[in-house]
Amino acid sequence: MIFIAIIFIFIGVLFSFLGSLGILRMKDTYNRLQTSTKATTLGAFSTIIGVGFLNPSWFFKLILIAFFILITSPIASHSLARASHKTGIKLEENQFDALNNENGEKK
């Protein structure tokens, strides 16, 4: 039981670390958002499951917490990306923007 828990927590910590590394490595806002949210969602999720294996009596509450993280963090990253797009922050390398039309104006 403890072994499984440790594996889960290790995976979670690894993903969180990779996510925070991605924030340092990536060049523009959208890529940073992507790495941070995706990696940390998974990281937090698996850490919570690992804690659940450590303490089986907390399992139900932990599932609830994981559920809420699963819902809120995509919405948060979506609204951050949306806000930064609306205020006109551009991509670093690939200038193609699917939300704009061919002339580069906003739809």
Binding site: F68, I71, T72, I75, H78, S79, R82, A83, K86
Partner: protein, 275 residues
């Protein structure tokens, strides 16, 4: 920092922060045992502890009027015995959370004052901003609307849970009100949910009214303002701690409504209330 960035105001601000930081450290060098009273005036301390163990003001008055002999009343009342969670009955105020019992019982009057500070600042906001125009915000997207509609009821539920359990676990009226206000803020920005300011004000002023009414009723039951006159119940149960549960719920409602009024007023200006 460039040369032009430097100015006197910033310098003084720096200095102020530095001095405050030093002041934070200075009590470390003071011997703060918090009880210098007993060294010099043992007389007062003894008598205060008598009063403390006797608790009720009316009883003390009776004793004072009879004679000044305190020796008969030396026996300690129930509250000083060991408290067992879930079993002990009729304690001083049946709160499991010590902070709550200090905030709402020993220093209930201060908490009332803090409530009024919040109330009057929001009132001032509505008075000053009532003439200003609206501000425009972005329309929310589909994903935001759906997510916010899903999340806000749970946030309000959490707020209600926190103020109902103020006497058992950390939290209480003020953070619960803040959480409820955050939920209304989300619903305002995320899905354009327009609540009416006048309704919230009605809740707010009614809650404040009842807090003071309950406190004033203490005058007739216990002989002092903010006295605790309901049965205190068993420690650790939800329905314990008499007035504290009721007043904390009212405080939670009041703070939540107040902060929501403030947010709405800053968001839109108050005029659109009367549509």
């Amino acid at each position: 920092m460039r040369e032009s960035d430097f100015n006197v105001g910033k310098f003084f601000a720096f200095l102020f922060v530095l001095i405050l930081f030093l002041f934070m450290l200075s009590p470390l060098f003071e011997e703060g045992d918090g009880a210098k009273i007993d060294k010099n005036l043992s007389d007062i301390k003894n008598r205060v502890s008598y009063f403390h163990s006797l608790k009720s003001v009316k009883e003390i008055e009776r004793i004072l009027s009879d004679n000044n002999d305190f020796s008969k009343y030396r026996e300690i009342t129930d509250s000083a015995k060991t408290v067992i969670f879930g079993e002990s009955k009729d304690l001083e105020n049946g709160t499991a959370n010590l902070v709550t019992s200090i905030v709402l019982d020993y220093r209930g009057f201060d908490t009332l004052g803090e409530l009024i500070v919040l109330f009057i600042s929001i009132l001032g906001l509505t008075i000053i901003l009532s003439t200003l125009s609206f501000a425009k915000f972005e329309e929310p997207s589909f994903l935001q609307i759906t997510g916010v509609k899903f999340v806000t009821p749970f946030m309000i539920l959490v707020g209600i849970y926190i103020f109902l359990h103020g006497h058992l676990s950390p939290g209480g009226g003020f953070p619960a009100g803040a959480i409820i206000a955050t939920a209304t803020l989300f619903s305002l920005i995320g899905c354009k949910f327009n609540y009416r300011v006048s309704n919230l004000k009605f809740i707010e002023s009614n809650a404040g009214f009842f807090v003071i009414l309950l406190a004033t009723l203490g005058l007739y039951f216990t002989g002092s303002f903010f006295g605790n006159y309901l049965p205190t119940g068993i420690v650790g149960k939800l329905y314990s701690s008499s007035l504290i549960l009721i007043i904390y719920s009212l405080v939670g409602l009041k703070v939540g409504a107040e902060l929501s009024v403030g947010i709405k007023t800053l968001y839109n200006g108050e005029k659109d209330d009367d549509r």
